[in-house]
Symmetry: C2
Subunit: 177 residues, 2 copies
Amino acid sequence: MEIKQEQKVSGERIYSGNILNLNKDQVEFSNGLTSVREVVEHSGGVSVLAENEEGKVLLIKQYRYPVDEVIYEIPAGKLEIGEDLEECAARELREETGYQAEKFTELYKFYPTPGYSTECIYIFQAEKLSYVGRELEEGEYIEVVPKSKAELKELFKNGELKDSKTLISVMHYLGDL
Amino acid sequence: MEIKQEQKVSGERIYSGNILNLNKDQVEFSNGLTSVREVVEHSGGVSVLAENEEGKVLLIKQYRYPVDEVIYEIPAGKLEIGEDLEECAARELREETGYQAEKFTELYKFYPTPGYSTECIYIFQAEKLSYVGRELEEGEYIEVVPKSKAELKELFKNGELKDSKTLISVMHYLGDL
């Protein structure tokens, strides 16, 4: 079966914001049918799987307004337009946890919600960490919670890892993949 | 350190759509600072990790307009408001792959992008499958591609699994977690 693609016929910018824009596009399929696509434009995110000098993975706990919950995440931030991926990884790791790393390696690149968002999230592994001090942005309230492998396994098994990038990173860390 | 939560001060509905709504809320932190939260409201999604009678996992290939790419995914769909999770899983599996399952078990519940979306995605495991015929919705162009464990490992290693729910499901399937 052919995978039919769709072409944009027209588009409307609904909203231009700080962290996202919203577009409403008309698309046409190859059979002539048309449909509407509601698309969140997001510049992408970079996240970091980092083990500190004690062999613990740096998780953070943060209140997330959209889901009204304090959840565990790996350090992460929004990619500035044109920003280098590794620079973004280093900046967010430093700001949120206070650690610098000597080496960053890209592990994963994924779309959290390809049905309605352009966002792509990168996961980097950070190695050879040293503590240099945190630099939180104003309005960021973040608790750093280093977790051992055994503790991560517990959190995973108990369904306490609810964020996509964090779940993928911890499954990578725990598994033999 | 206390994890400071934020309270909604006021809210504005920017857009009400077919698959999502967009709100712009003013929030206040406990220290009196205020900020803006752009929040995509989404009713949630249910996805299905299903092995067919030949021991192959049912992946689908689908063009995703927001990321302008044909990607692999597990069968999934949007939760209707008030809909039972298992019913949604069964419906989407049937519509997209033509399979019925005797048993559904919840494996994961995660937030793809808790920073700006309310969406929660559930992953169910479907067991004891039988083929009864597909029922695609109008405008759905989906190719079903059953994959063996070895094939999934290849796709995973080559970075060809780019969708969050699919990556998590395949890591679960391949790993010993």
